[in-house]
C-alpha cells in the first residue's frame, strides 16, 4: 500500500522556530518509520517554499526513507496568493502533485499541532483522488511513551482501512470530438493526400471537424463529409474538443499549426523530422520574427544559432539541424512512421526520450487488383509491347534520389544496350545543375531508351505503376523523410529494388530487393539483371510486397492504431499538466494578473516540460552587468567560447545571470548573442527553468550576489540541480594583510556559502589543496561531502583585443629597448611584490648593473606609498618604467621588447602571466610557490625570500645569460582553451574519479 504523508504545513515560515511544531514533526517521523517497518511504500511530500527548511527536513528523513520517496514541491508564497480563487487554484496544483505520486491513501498532517497554535496554511478543501486521513490533535508527543506508540498504531490502522484501490476509469460511451488539423487536397502536398485517405477510417472512432488554413485553402476535399473550421475557431472553442490531432511536415502548408500547438495541446503526427524549412518559411514569409533563429536555439542551443548567423548558409543550416523540438515538446504524444525517425529522436533530443511515441506505418489503401487485360491496355497506351521491359523510378528527381547513379549503371549494363528495355523517370526533373546534368547524360546515351515524364498527375502516375515491370527507388543523404513512392510501388505489386537507407532499411527482405545503404554499381547491375531475367523472382517480389502492404499499411489497421494511440496518450497524460491547466483555466477569469502569473510559474515549476538536453547553467553575472576585462572575466569568456563551440555530450550550454536585488536567475541570451557576434534582439532574457539533472556552475567571482541568491540555489538544489562554483583563489583569506579591510570577511562568507553546495572546481591543484585545508578547518562537516576538483586554465595565443597607444609610447619603448629589461605585469597591489622588486633593483643599480625594471599595471589598492615611491624615484623614466594603462596592443609591444618576466607574488591562483611570458619567449624568474611550480615546472628560475634573494636571482640570470645557459622557457607546456574546457568539464561533471 502506498501511503503519502503530506507534511507541507509543518515546515514553519522562516523566522519562527521549529519548537511549536516539533512534537508533530517527531510524530510524523515515527509514523513514517513504523509504516516502513510494516512494509508499506511510504512517500513524503514537503513544501519547498522555504528551501533551507525543506532541505533540512529532507536530510533528516534520509535515514528513514529512500531519496526518491521524498518529494519537494514548490508552492507559491502565501503573500502572493490572497484571493480565494487563487487559493483554490493552488489547491488544484497540490491535488495534481499528489495524484502524480499515485498513492492509495493520503495522510494529512496539517492538523497534527498542539492545540491552540495557529497553523500557517489552511487545510485544502479540494477533494483529492485518493482518500485522505486527517490526523487528530495531539497534546504531547515525544516518541518514547507507550501512549505515543499506541497513537501511532491507531493512525496506521485508520490508514489501512481507508485505503481503497483506485477504480478504473470508465470508458465513455459516446463518441469523442476530434479536431483534425492538416493540409488537405487540393493542396499539393503528400500529407494532404495522406490525410484524405486517413479521414474516412478515423471517422469510425471520432466525431471529426477539420481545421484548415483558411487563407490558402478555399474548398478542401471532404468538406461535404466533415465540418470545416479555421484556426481562430479552434482557439476560441478549444474546450469543446476532446482530442486534437496535428499533422506536421516540412512545408509552408503547416505554418498555421505552429501557433495553434502553442495554445491547444494535442497529438502530433510527425511526417518529417527535419522542420527547418517550415520554420524558415514562417520567419520569412509570414513575418514571425526570428522564427528560424528561435527554433534553432530552442532545439539545439547557441551553436546552431552561431552557425546560422555566421558560418553556414541557410540551406546547410536547415539540412543539418532539425529544429523540431518545440513541436515535440508541446505534443501530448508523437506518432511517427518509421523506426528511423525514432532513432533520430533519440539522437537529437536524448533527454526527452521518455516522451510518449508510437510508430504507425504510412497507410496505403490496397491497390485494386486488376485483370491482365487492363494492364496490357495500359502498356499499349505507353507504347510498350509484351516483350518490352519497363523499369521506372518514381518521384521528383534530385540528388537524394540518386538518379545519376541509376543512369550510369543503366548505361553500362545489358539492359541499357537492349532496345527492348526502357527506363522511365516518372516525376519532374530537378532544377539547377543536377537536372541539367541528367538531361545531358540522357541525350548522350547510345541507345535511346531512357526518358523523363515531367510532372505526373495522379492518372499518369497510376498508369505507370500498373504498367511497370520493375521499380527502382534509391535514396541517399536523406534526412529521414519517409518515402511514400516505394509504398506505392509495393502496393501495386511491382517488384522493387531499393537500398537500405533511412526508413527503407526496415522493409522486409523478401518483399523488396534490398541493396546495401552504400551500394556499389556492380550490385545494382546484378540486381537489375537478375530481376530482368527471372520472371518468377519478379512475381514473388511483387506478391510479397502487395501482401505486406495489405497487412501492415491497410487503412483500417492504421486508423485503428491512430485511435488507440490517441486514447493512450490522453489517458497516460492524466497526471501531467494539461488537465490541471484546463481545471485552473476555469478559475482563471477570476484571478488578477499578478496571481495568474504566480500560479503559472508555480505550475511550470512543478510540472516541467521536456527539454532536448540537460542544461549546463553557467553564471556569468558580472559580465552581463559590467564587462571590466579583469583576469577572471577573461577566463570566463574563454571558457564560455570554448564550451559553446563544443558543448559536452548531452548538455546545452546556457549562460545565466542574477543580481543582488531580486531573487532568481535569468538566461543571459542577449549577452551571449552579443558575445557570439549575432544580433542581440533575436531572443529575450527570460527567467530560467531547471529540472533534475541540470548542472549549475558559478563561473565568475561575485561575492554579494552569490550570498544573496543562496535561497534560490537551495531551491535549485532541492529540485535536483547540481550546484558548483569555480574557486579562483583563497588569497583574501590567506593573505588578509594584503587586501583592504573587510575583504577577508567577504571572501570567508563567500567560501562558507559555496561550501554548502555540491562541489568546487579550482583553477590549480595548489588552490584545491588550500581549499581542502580551509574546509577541513572551517566547515569540517562538509569535508567529506564537498567535492573539490581542479582543472588547468588555457592560454591560447591571444588575439589583440584592445588597441591604442598613448603618445608617450614611443619614448617609453625606446627606453625599454635600450637596455636589458625585466618586466612585471599585473595590477600594482601589495601582494604582487612590486616593492620587493624595487628594493632588489635598487641594490642591483647600486652595484652597477645597467638594467631596466618595467612595471605594467594600474595602481590598485593599499599601495599609495609605493606609488609615490615609484613616481618620485630617481631612476623613474630612466631605468624604472611604470606603464599604468596599457592596451593589449601596447602590452604586446612591451613583451616583445623585454627579456625576462619577474613574478614575485606572495600568492596566486594560477599564474597565467607566466604562461603568457613563456609564449612570447621571455625567460621566467618567479617565486618558489607550489602553484608556480605546478605551472612552470623546471622552465623557470626560482627564488625564495625577500629582496636580496631576488637580486641574487637576477644577477645569476644575467651571468647565465652571458654564457648562454639561462633557463629557457620554450618547453613550457600549456593547454589551449579547447583542451582546458575539456578538462573543466571532466572536473565539473565528475567524470574523472581521481581526486583533485
Amino acid at each position: 500500500m502506498r501511503v503519502l504523508l503530506d507534511i507541507r504545513a509543518l515546515i514553519p515560515a522562516s523566522g519562527s522556530s521549529y519548537a511549536p511544531t516539533a512534537p508533530a514533526w517527531v510524530f510524523c517521523r515515527a509514523l513514517a518509520k513504523a509504516m516502513r517497518d510494516k512494509q508499506h511504500d511510504v512517500h513524503v511530500l514537503l513544501d519547498g517554499q522555504q528551501a533551507e527548511n525543506a532541505a533540512q527536513a529532507r536530510d533528516s528523513l534520509k535515514d528513514i526513507l529512500a531519496v526518491e520517496s521524498i518529494h519537494i514541491w514548490l508552492s507559491p508564497s502565501p503573500d502572493s496568493v490572497r484571493t480565494d480563487t487563487a487559493r483554490k487554484a493552488v489547491g488544484y496544483l497540490h491535488a495534481a502533485i499528489v495524484a502524480r505520486i499515485c498513492p492509495d491513501v493520503v495522510f494529512d498532517a496539517t492538523s497534527v499541532v498542539l492545540a491552540g497554535e495557529a497553523i500557517t496554511a489552511p487545510p485544502s478543501e479540494i477533494a483529492l483522488g485518493p482518500p485522505i486521513v486527517r490526523a487528530t490533535a495531539l497534546q504531547h508527543f515525544d516518541g518514547n511513551s507507550c501512549a505515543d506508540a499506541q497513537a501511532i498504531k491507531e493512525t496506521i490502522e485508520r490508514l489501512e482501512r481507508a485505503a481503497v484501490q483506485t477504480a478504473n476509469q470508465p470508458s465513455s460511451a459516446e463518441r469523442l470530438r476530434l479536431a483534425f488539423v492538416s493540409p488537405l487536397p487540393p493542396q499539393r502536398s503528400g500529407i494532404a493526400d495522406y490525410s484524405a485517405e486517413l479521414l474516412p477510417e478515423l471517422a469510425k472512432y471520432y466525431e471529426i471537424e477539420l481545421i484548415v488554413d483558411a487563407q490558402r485553402l478555399k474548398q478542401p476535399a471532404l468538406s461535404t463529409q466533415f465540418p470545416v473550421r479555421d484556426a481562430a475557431y479552434l482557439i476560441s472553442h478549444a474546450g469543446t474538443y476532446d482530442r486534437v490531432l496535428y499533422h506536421f511536415g516540412n512545408s509552408e502548408f503547416h505554418e498555421y499549426m505552429f501557433e495553434l500547438l502553442e495554445v491547444v495541446p494535442g497529438t502530433v503526427v510527425l511526417h518529417d523530422f527535419f522542420l527547418g524549412d517550415a520554420q524558415w518559411h514562417l520567419e520569412h514569409f509570414s513575418g514571425k520574427r526570428n522564427g528560424l533563429a528561435r527554433a534553432l536555439y530552442a532545439s539545439h542551443g547557441y551553436r546552431a544559432l552561431a552557425d546560422r548567423m555566421q558560418r553556414l548558409e541557410l540551406s546547410a543550416v536547415v539540412a543539418q539541424y532539425p529544429c523540431s523540438f518545440e513541436i515535440i515538446r508541446r505534443a501530448q504524444g508523437i506518432i511517427v512512421h518509421s523506426h528511423y525517425s525514432l532513432s533520430l529522436l533519440k539522437h537529437w533530443y536524448a533527454e526527452s526520450s521518455g516522451l510518449q511515441t508510437t510508430l504507425i506505418p504510412l497507410l496505403r489503401r490496397a491497390a485494386e487488383t486488376y485483370t491482365d487485360g487492363s494492364r496490357e491496355a495500359d502498356r499499349r497506351e505507353l507504347g510498350l509491347t509484351d516483350d518490352d521491359f519497363l523499369v521506372c523510378a518514381f518521384g521528383l528527381l534530385g540528388p537524394t534520389k540518386l538518379n545519376d547513379r541509376l543512369l550510369r549503371v543503366w548505361k553500362n549494363s545489358a539492359l541499357g544496350a537492349s532496345p527492348r528495355c526502357r527506363l522511365v523517370f516518372v516525376g519532374e526533373n530537378a532544377n539547377g545543375a543536377y537536372g541539367d546534368a541528367i538531361r545531358a547524360e540522357i541525350e548522350r546515351l547510345p541507345v535511346a531508351n531512357v526518358e523523363i515524364t515531367g510532372w505526373a498527375d495522379e492518372a499518369m502516375f497510376r498508369r505507370y505503376l500498373r504498367a511497370a515491370d520493375l521499380a527502382v527507388q534509391l535514396r541517399g543523404r536523406s534526412r529521414g523523410e519517409t518515402s511514400a513512392a516505394i509504398l506505392d510501388t509495393m502496393n501495386h505489386g511491382v517488384a522493387t529494388i531499393a537500398n537500405a537507407h533511412g526508413a527503407m532499411a526496415w522493409l522486409p527482405k523478401d518483399s523488396v530487393c534490398m541493396l546495401e545503404d552504400e551500394f556499389t554499381d556492380a550490385q545494382l547491375d546484378d540486381a537489375l539483371s537478375s530481376i530482368w531475367r527471372d520472371a518468377e523472382l519478379r512475381k514473388t517480389f511483387g506478391s510479397n510486397a502487395r501482401s505486406y502492404i495489405a497487412e501492415h499499411h491497410s487503412p483500417q489497421h492504421c486508423g485503428e492504431q491512430y485511435a488507440h494511440a490517441m486514447e493512450r496518450f490522453a489517458r497516460c497524460g492524466g497526471y501531467e499538466r494539461n488537465p490541471l491547466v484546463a481545471k485552473v483555466a476555469q478559475l482563471a477569469p477570476d484571478l488578477d494578473a499578478g496571481e495568474k502569473r504566480v500560479i503559472s510559474s508555480a505550475i511550470a515549476a512543478n510540472f516541467p516540460t521536456p527539454r532536448p538536453a540537460k542544461q549546463l547553467l553557467l553564471d556569468v553575472s558580472s559580465m552581463v552587468y559590467q564587462d571590466l576585462h579583469t583576469g577572471i572575466q577573461r577566463v570566463v569568456k574563454s571558457l564560455l567560447r570554448a564550451l559553446i563551440e563544443s558543448p559536452p555530450e548531452g548538455y546545452r550550454v546556457e549562460p545565466v545571470y542574477g543580481g543582488s536585488h531580486q531573487l532568481g536567475y535569468r538566461y543571459a541570451r542577449r549577452y551571449t548573442l552579443k558575445f557570439l557576434g549575432c544580433p542581440e534582439d533575436t531572443l529575450d532574457d527570460a527567467p530560467i527553468s531547471f529540472a533534475k539533472g541540470d548542472e549549475f556552475i558559478g563561473l565568475d567571482l561575485m561575492h554579494d550576489p552569490v550570498y544573496f541568491q543562496t535561497p534560490y540555489f537551495r531551491q535549485m538544489h532541492n529540485a535536483g540541480v547540481r550546484v558548483q562554483f569555480v574557486v579562483y583563489d583563497l588569497l583574501p583569506v590567506l593573505l588578509p594583510h594584503r587586501f583592504p579591510q573587510g575583504s577577508a570577511d567577504l571572501h570567508t562568507r563567500w567560501l562558507r556559502t559555496i561550501a554548502e553546495f555540491d562541489g568546487a572546481v579550482c583553477i590549480s591543484k595548489a588552490v584545491a589543496n588550500e581549499l581542502t585545508d580551509w574546509v577541513a578547518d572551517n566547515a569540517p562537516h562538509r569535508s567529506p561531502k564537498l567535492r573539490i576538483r581542479s582543472f588547468p586554465l588555457g592560454a591560447d595565443l591571444s588575439t589583440v583585443a584592445s588597441k591604442g597607444l598613448p603618445p608617450s609610447a614611443a619614448d617609453t619603448m625606446r627606453t625599454i629597448a635600450s637596455r636589458l629589461s625585466f618586466l612585471m605585469v599585473g595590477t600594482v597591489e601589495p601582494r604582487k611584490g612590486h616593492e620587493l622588486a624595487l628594493d632588489a633593483f635598487e641594490q642591483l643599480w647600486t652595484a652597477g648593473h645597467d638594467i631596466n625594471l618595467v612595471i605594467v599595471g594600474k595602481q590598485g589598492w593599499m599601495v599609495e606609498e609605493l606609488a609615490q615611491r615609484l613616481r618620485r624615484h630617481h631612476e623613474y623614466a630612466r631605468r624604472l618604467v611604470w606603464i599604468e594603462k596599457a592596451s593589449d596592443e601596447y602590452l604586446e609591444l612591451v613583451y616583445a621588447a623585454s627579456t625576462c618576466l619577474i613574478t614575485a607574488s606572495e600568492g596566486e591562483g594560477f599564474g597565467l602571466p607566466l604562461i603568457e611570458g613563456a609564449q612570447r619567449g621571455l625567460s621566467l624568474i618567479s617565486r618558489d610557490l607550489p602553484v608556480f611550480r605546478e605551472v612552470c615546472g623546471e622552465h623557470a628560475l626560482y627564488f625564495e625570500g625577500q629582496a636580496p634573494a631576488l637580486a641574487d636571482a637576477v644577477r645569476h640570470w644575467i651571468n647565465m645569460a652571458s654564457d648562454g645557459i639561462q633557463i629557457r622557457s620554450e618547453g613550457l607546456s600549456y593547454l589551449n582553451w579547447q583542451q582546458s574546457a575539456e578538462r573543466f568539464i571532466e572536473a565539473a561533471l565528475w567524470k574523472r574519479d581521481t581526486p583533485v
Binding site: G239, A605, P687, I688, S689, P711, A810, I816, L893, V894
Partner: protein, 442 residues
Amino acid sequence: MQMSAPFYRAFEDKYRGSRELIKSRLEAYHPFLSPLRELHARPQALDIGCGRGEWLELLGEQGFAARGIDLDDSMLQACRERGLDVALSDGLAALRETPSSSLALVSAFHVVEHIVFEDLQAMVVEALRVLLPGGILVLETPNPENLEVGTSSFYLDPSHIKPLPPQLLAFVADHAGFERKTILRLQEADELHDESSISLMAVLTGVSPDYAVVAQKHAATDVLRLHDAAFSKQYGLSLSMLAQRYDDRYALAEQRQAHVEQGQARAEQLYLQAETRLNEAAAAATSSEQQLRRLVAACESRVRQAKTSIAVLEARVALLEQQGLQTQAQLDRFDALRSASGASFIGRLHAIKMFLRHPRPGPVVRLVSKIARKLGVHGPLRAVYLRLRNMVLTRLRPPTPSPERTPGSSVIPLSSELSDDAQSVWNQLHTLSHSKNKQGVD
C-alpha cells in the same frame, strides 16, 4: 730360469695378445727384410725363441726359409701343427751348431731379457759368425725408456732378468763387430706420431714400449747400400723425444703467454692513450659547447635588440596611425558640425519659442490662487493640493515590490516576467479561459 711350461703358456695367453696382433707388429721389420730377398733367392733365417711361430710364418710368407728354436715344447708343438720348421734347443747351442756365414737373418724376439749378460754377449758374437755378409741380426726386447715398462710392466714377467737399455744392447752389437746398427723403437700409439699431441701422461707412458736393435754384418758397399734406407730412418718414440716435445710445448705455451702479456700491456697502454684522448675530446667539446652557447647568447641578444627595435618602430607606427585616425575623426566632426550647425541653430530657436509659449496657469486657477494669497492660506492650500495629487498618482501607478537585500524571502520570483515554460502555461490558461466550454468538462 725355468718355470713350468703350462704356467708360461697361460701367462702368455693372457698377456701376449692374439696372433694377428703380433703379426701386425712384426710388419715394422719389412724394410729390413725386403732387401734381403733381393740379395738372396731364398734367404735362410733362424729365429731364437720362436714361441708360437708368428715370425716364422711371416718370414715364410716373405719367401724366407725360416727355422725356429724354442725351449718350450708345447709352443713348438703349435708350430709344428702349422708346419713350421722348428726344433727344441737352446739359442746359444743352436747358434754354435750353425755353420758360419750361412744365415741371412738371425732374430730373437723377447729373448735377451731372459738370459744373463754373458750369454747374451756370446749369442751376439755367434750370431755375427753365422751371418752372411750383409746379414741382419734382430734383437727385440722391452724398452725401459718407457717409464711404465721400465718401472713396472717389465717385471710382470717373472722370468725377465733386468731391463736392457737400448744403448747397452746396441753397444753389445757394436762391440761384437757388426758393421752398423740401429735402434727401432716399436709399438707406440699411432696418435703420438702427431707432433702436436703431447701430454704428461704420454711422456710417462707413451714412449715406445718395445725396441729392437737391428745390426748388419759387414759387406760390400753395393750390398750394404740396399739397407741404407732402412738404416737411416728414425723409428718410434724415445723418451727424450717425447720429453723434448713436452718441453717444447711448454716453452711454446710460455712464449705464447709472454706474447699475450705483451699484447695485454700494449692494449692497456693503448686504452690509456684512448682515454686521455677521449677526455681531451670531451673537454674540447665542452669548451666548444660553451663557446657555442656564448655565440648563441650573443646572437640572441642581437635578435632581442632587433626585436625590441622592431617593437619600438611598431609602436611609433601605431602611434602615427592612431594620430592619423584621430585627426581624420576630428576633421569629420568639424564637417558634420558645420553642416549641422545650421540645423541646431534652428532647433535652438524652436526651443526658445516653446519656452515662451509655455502655457501659464489658466484664469480660474489664477483667480483662486489670488484669493488664497489674499486670505493668507495659499501655502497650506498648495500643500494640500500637492498631497492630493501624489495620492492620486500613486493609486494609478502599480505598486513596485520593495527590493530585498537579505536572503530568506519568498522564492517564487515576483518578477514581471515569466520563464518560457510559465509563459506557455499562462498562454494556455488565457486561451482556455476565454474559450467556450462544453458542459461538464472536468
